[in-house]
Symmetry: C2
Subunit: 341 residues, 2 copies
């Protein structure tokens, strides 16, 4: 049993992107705004985009279930206002829900939120509620920087985020901390902004005491935790200087890292430094890095191979591949029961 | 022979900070601006702050020579205008020069630049020239984000930086890419902003073709290269998608990483992933992480221990400890000749 906690619908039918372009073009010109009903995507189209892409690779690589959310780089919360984000999030979340209905044994939805720079996070709650209650979402993606690389939001430990956290705790769902496209030319989206956001979020959590207020809140830091595991000594030392408890006590009951690290030495470091119970299998396939690594002959993002080859016992690998995900995403249980697993 | 390429004068006499506070308080009130001559620091004061701190630890740990630049977090290029930065940089650089005169066998200066947000980098050239020609600086610290966490500058591959690069090539000096204090509450200075800047700069260089224009330009990315080595597969894959040459050919003739990674697994990864000739010994002592690691009983930033313990041959360690620094910082030669080494 292998659960991939980090997949996005990067292969959605072209009509989605076309509709979004029309929506963006109409910002400031309400007359030109396309209606949601103008976006028509058939079940067959969805099936084709999944079967030929994610599902094909899941079968080839041997993973069973993907937690599936809208394309991260397309969230683009910095574009338009809350209404623009709200309509867009609803469309994208519904599509992932439809994927999960068409492939109920292989895909479980996670929701993007209709965040917008300068708008209170609590405005996202209706979409969150709908996705959990109606679509069966088992997690959300939370963007710590809806400005798209200008970092104008308060840190994740700020009370403005608390309404989201209260709902997360109520529903017992985790958030993956995931930014979107960078509109700041200093930051390449997947090469700098994503990784920086992971590192930044981890340090925000380290600086604060958020989990005193929310002992059951859980965050997954994607892309192997950004730079955090590589600099684990630095973070242990900074926690010490900030008079925080040991990282294990301060953060590791609530913070988890995925395995989207695209080479063996990176996964080996992750497995060496971070307790096994805090590592969740993921590939972000099909995502930022789609090529074949000439050094191995396999896709960079075929992260299962790296976990397979890491110095871990079979029970430890089982934890990383599935056990931890079941613990961190308890709402997966219904899906797994249905699968008889 | 052990050369530490990354030390800052973090222990300067208190009078320096007091003068700086007066300078900052007087921004917008020229009458109140303190005169440079009002800052009086004696040779004995400098000696004491070095002997009791950096030099003491260099002796204990067994390093011989430190490339020494002004305190990175105090550069604070975002404060005031170019004139404020210019006066401040001149003061800080002169102090490091005086350290190098008082301890000519142990400290060699590297210069900070009087950068200021929105001001053309070429304005920094007179200070650069003075520091190289009069103070014997062997390198500069270049801040890719003088805004202090708002990232308003063009990427390092932009032509606005070229006048600096031309001088670097003329003088055959490298730049360490080093930001300063974050004034953005999203970014903890040493826990997020420093590491993000390293990752960001690396990705900017990956995206561009700067070294086609400047084949001899050299950058040292500090703090072990930010997240880059941990995500080396990601960066190899992104280079491939961007149709760039292999990283070895595209960047590693010009980009080097220091060993400011404060635990054994991090250094082991660095040594496993990055060619030995691209790794330069450094500790950033006395810097961001000053405590003793309870897991080892030694200072987190005692990076020599990690390099000593890494799976490297004695000649490889000699390269990391000194040989590479001599190649990347050729102006060190004069100092080393004087030391008879």
């Amino acid at each position: 049993m292998i659960i991939d906690v980090h997949g996005h619908y990067t292969t959605a039918p072209r009509a989605l992107e076309t509709w979004r372009q029309r929506q963006i073009a109409a910002i400031g010109d309400p007359q030109a705004t396309p209606r949601v009903s103008e976006l028509v995507i058939s079940d067959d189209e969805i099936r084709a985009t999944i079967e030929e892409n994610q599902l094909k690779q899941m079968r080839q690589r041997g993973s069973d279930l993907t937690i599936f959310s809208p394309r991260a780089s397309f969230m683009a919360h910095h574009i338009g206002d809350f209404q623009v984000s709200s309509t867009w999030a609803a469309i994208c979340n519904e599509l992932c829900y439809r994927v999960s209905q068409l492939f109920p044994d292989q895909f479980v939805p996670a929701a993007m939120l209709p965040q917008s720079p300068g708008v209170a996070p609590e405005t996202c709650i209706p979409e969150l509620v709908k996705c959990v209650e109606e679509y069966g979402a088992v997690a959300i993606n939370l963007n710590p920087d809806p400005s798209g690389g200008h970092w104008t939001s308060a840190p994740l430990t700020d009370r403005s985020w608390y309404p989201i956290y209260e709902r997360m705790v109520d529903y017992d769902i985790p958030a993956m901390v995931h930014v979107s496209t960078s509109c700041n030319p200093a930051f390449h989206t997947t090469g700098a902004h994503y990784i920086n956001a992971d590192t930044t979020a981890f340090m925000q959590l380290l600086q604060g005491d958020l989990f005193k207020d929310f002992p059951k809140l859980r965050f997954v830091i994607p892309h192997g935790g950004g730079a955090a595991p590589y600099h684990w000594g630095r973070y242990r030392g900074l926690a010490q200087e900030l008079k925080k408890p040991l990282l294990r006590d301060h953060l590791l009951g609530n913070v988890f890292f995925d395995t989207c690290v695209y080479h063996q030495p990176g996964i080996d470091l992750l497995a060496r430094v971070i307790p096994v119970e805090n590592i969740l299998f993921a590939s972000e396939m099909i995502g930022a890095v789609r090529g074949v690594d000439p050094e191995t002959g396999y896709n960079y993002d075929d992260t299962k191979r790296y976990v397979d080859a890491a110095a871990l016992t079979p029970p430890q690998k089982a934890q990383i591949f599935a056990g931890n995900a079941q613990r961190v995403y308890p709402r997966l249980a219904r899906v797994l029961e249905r699968k008889g697993k």
